[in-house]
Amino acid sequence: MALSANGRGNGASATVAQRLQKELMDIMTKPTPGITAFPDDENMTVWTATITGPDETPYENLVFKLSMEFAPNYPYSPPTVLYKTPIYHPNVDFSGRICLDVLKDKWSAIYNITTVLLSLQSLLGEPNNSSPLNGQAAELWDKDPVEYKRLVLARHKEPEDLDA
């Protein structure tokens, strides 16, 4: 126990900062269209990200804000990701929590912020309706695309309106 506690302490968090630093460099030098991510002013382990809804989905042209929090043992544990923008989606609950396997037990240390955001973006267009957090949305997705789209737009808020 003592051994691992030491390992997790100073050494580990230094690595988190290092790794996040590296990812930030990567994101700034090679930006991916449709996603942005930037760390908090004071805290390198808390980031704010945005994703743009993919074309030809109910989320087209909508921008969603997310928060990402990195544990001291990142990348050996997934970041905690929440939707800050209210979103109507089968795999997101009303407080913004996301059900996505790569953010849970299928997390791999080879993933990074960009791959997480890209997975979330593709989840918008391809929800996993077999294990929904929002049952109504899962049902409407196939049954009534028009009503679905209406509910998506009704729930959505522009990022600028959020901070107010």
Partner: protein, 491 residues
């Protein structure tokens, strides 16, 4: 429907389900423990199911030591990675470490090819290279720290996780680039999906495919072998081998004496297993150094228990006692050094060689032979010098044995007794003695030609039970002709 208060609502039920799904017993203990006697395992199972008792009771005789790995869901990967580095130390050759670094570096192409971002995996790989550098530095300075460095590195959560992640990525990349070899073991045949779900995730235990992939990607190219021994409740008297990868060279020929990595698998958990011979006896057990003769005799007395019935054999094993028809020089070809009457001078002789190559033919010797009537030519007797580190000969002037013929049989019986007791003897090993197993990899004899390799003169084959010497066959010419033709067809 039951009372709603008693029945958890769907939401509560989902919550409880989530809790139970996420529950993990708290893993304790060091990430990788110290090597310890495997009798500990026997003790752990002393009150368990009889099958476990029988199997674990038989364990220490074959596998003298084991090392625990923390059961935190990484133990299989950790055990393989650790034993891989440990086997490199067992080889004890700096250039081997350098070769491995170069090889692992070249495996980077594999990772790139699979589509992993080099920026990401290089962090994990560098932790492994860093460890190789540290071990090489320690070996170069001969400071004896290498084993401790290895253990400390693997007990550092961060370094340990990086190395584990690295070997998992190697395994995944190997499976994906050798999909044909693995696709039949994957249910839906989706190799990429399988790797993403069963090898790459941070929390996933090594399964058979992962172990097999690492055996191919990491262990076999290093010239090592891998065995997994399975301890479960299946009927049987010993643990059984559930996975085996023979150490072979790149021509798929077995490498005799190559390090073998051994894992002990109990359902859901891996530990590391060692045979007594896998373990360098020097650094951690200074007590054993005091009695090196014990080691020297161990080869010699392997299959001999000094009971009354085997006394005749014992006498037979004492060099010079029964030169049974064969010339002495032939029987003891390696004992060419001169006898010196001063026992002190013998401490200079390293007691390694003489016994191994000279097995005594066990001729049925009745007690009647104990009267020492067998004539010994004086010149033979003076030429012959008993192996001086044999305590029985140092007890009394060795020359007297052949020269004063009939010592009464009872005396010889008494004389056989100290042989078992006085193993310590006056003989101490040199401090410059190499660790057992040192350079075992070098037995591969890099300069041998393919002709010599297949020759029956090649002593390396003594350890290979399946060895077939190359023979001339009357049909040989035809078969080579066929081969040549076949080749030209296929190319």
């Amino acid at each position: 429907m039951a009372d709603p208060a008693a029945m958890p609502s769907d939401e509560e039920y989902a919550y409880l389900q989530k809790l139970s799904g996420e529950y993990q017993p708290e893993a304790t203990g060091p990430l990788v423990g110290e090597r310890q006697s495997s009798a500990t395992i026997t003790t752990q199972y002393a009150t368990a199911d009889p099958i476990y008792r029988v199997k674990t009771a038989a364990l220490p005789a074959k596998y003298a030591y084991f090392r625990t790995c923390r059961g935190d869901g990484h133990c299989g990967w950790r055990a393989i990675a650790f034993t891989y580095f440990e086997a490199l130390l067992r080889v004890g050759d700096v250039s081997k470490l350098e070769d491995e670094e170069a090889r692992l570096n070249s495996l980077g192409n594999l990772l790139d090819h699979i589509g992993y971002s080099r920026d990401l995996w290089i962090d994990f790989a560098e932790e492994a290279f860093e460890l190789l550098h540290k071990l090489a530095r320690s070996l170069r300075h001969m400071d004896g720290q290498a084993a401790d460095i290895l253990l400390q590195t693997f007990n550092d959560m961060n370094a340990s996780m990086a190395i584990i992640t690295y070997v998992k990525l190697l395994a995944s990349a190997w499976v994906q680039t050798h999909a044909d070899d693995f696709v039949h073991f994957i249910d839906n045949g989706d190799v990429r999906g399988y790797c993403a779900n069963n090898i790459e995730p941070t929390m996933c235990e090594a399964d058979n495919i992962g172990v097999a992939a690492l055996a191919e990607a990491l262990i076999k190219p290093a010239g090592f072998g891998l065995e997994v021994w399975y301890l479960d409740r299946s009927p049987g008297e010993e643990i059984n081998r559930s996975f085996h990868s023979e150490p072979t060279d790149h021509h798929h020929r077995p490498i005799p004496g190559a390090p073998m990595l051994r894992l002990l698998y109990r359902p859901g958990h891996y530990d590391i297993l060692y045979k007594a011979g896998d373990v360098p006896q020097v650094q951690h057990q200074p007590a054993l150094r005091q009695q090196p003769l014990h080691v020297a005799l161990a080869n010699y007395t392997d299959d001999f228990v000094p009971t009354a019935t085997s006394v005749a054999d014992v006498m037979n094993m004492i060099p010079g006692m029964y030169p049974t028809g064969v010339g002495l020089g032939q029987r003891w070809p390696s004992l060419s050094y001169d006898f010196s009457p001063s026992p002190a001078s013998h401490t200079q002789v390293t007691p390694i060689q003489p016994y191994a190559p000279a097995p005594t033919p066990v001729t049925p010797v009745s007690t009647a032979h104990l009267d020492f009537v067998t004539p010994i030519h004086p010149n033979n007797a003076s030429q012959y010098n008993p192996p001086s580190h044999h305590s029985i000969h140092l007890d009394q002037p060795p020359v007297t044995l052949p020269i004063h013929p009939p010592p009464p049989p009872p005396v010889s019986l008494e004389r056989s007794a100290p042989m078992t007791v006085e193993r310590g003897g006056p003989f101490r090993s040199s401090m410059y003695e190499l660790e057992p197993g040192f350079g075992s990899s070098m037995q591969v004899q890099p300069f041998q030609t393919s002709i010599f390799r297949n020759s029956h003169f090649n002593t390396a084959h003594f350890r290979n039970p399946d060895f077939m010497p190359e023979q001339w066959l009357p049909d040989g010419e035809y078969s080579t002709g066929n081969k040549g033709r076949h080749k030209s067809h296929s190319s």
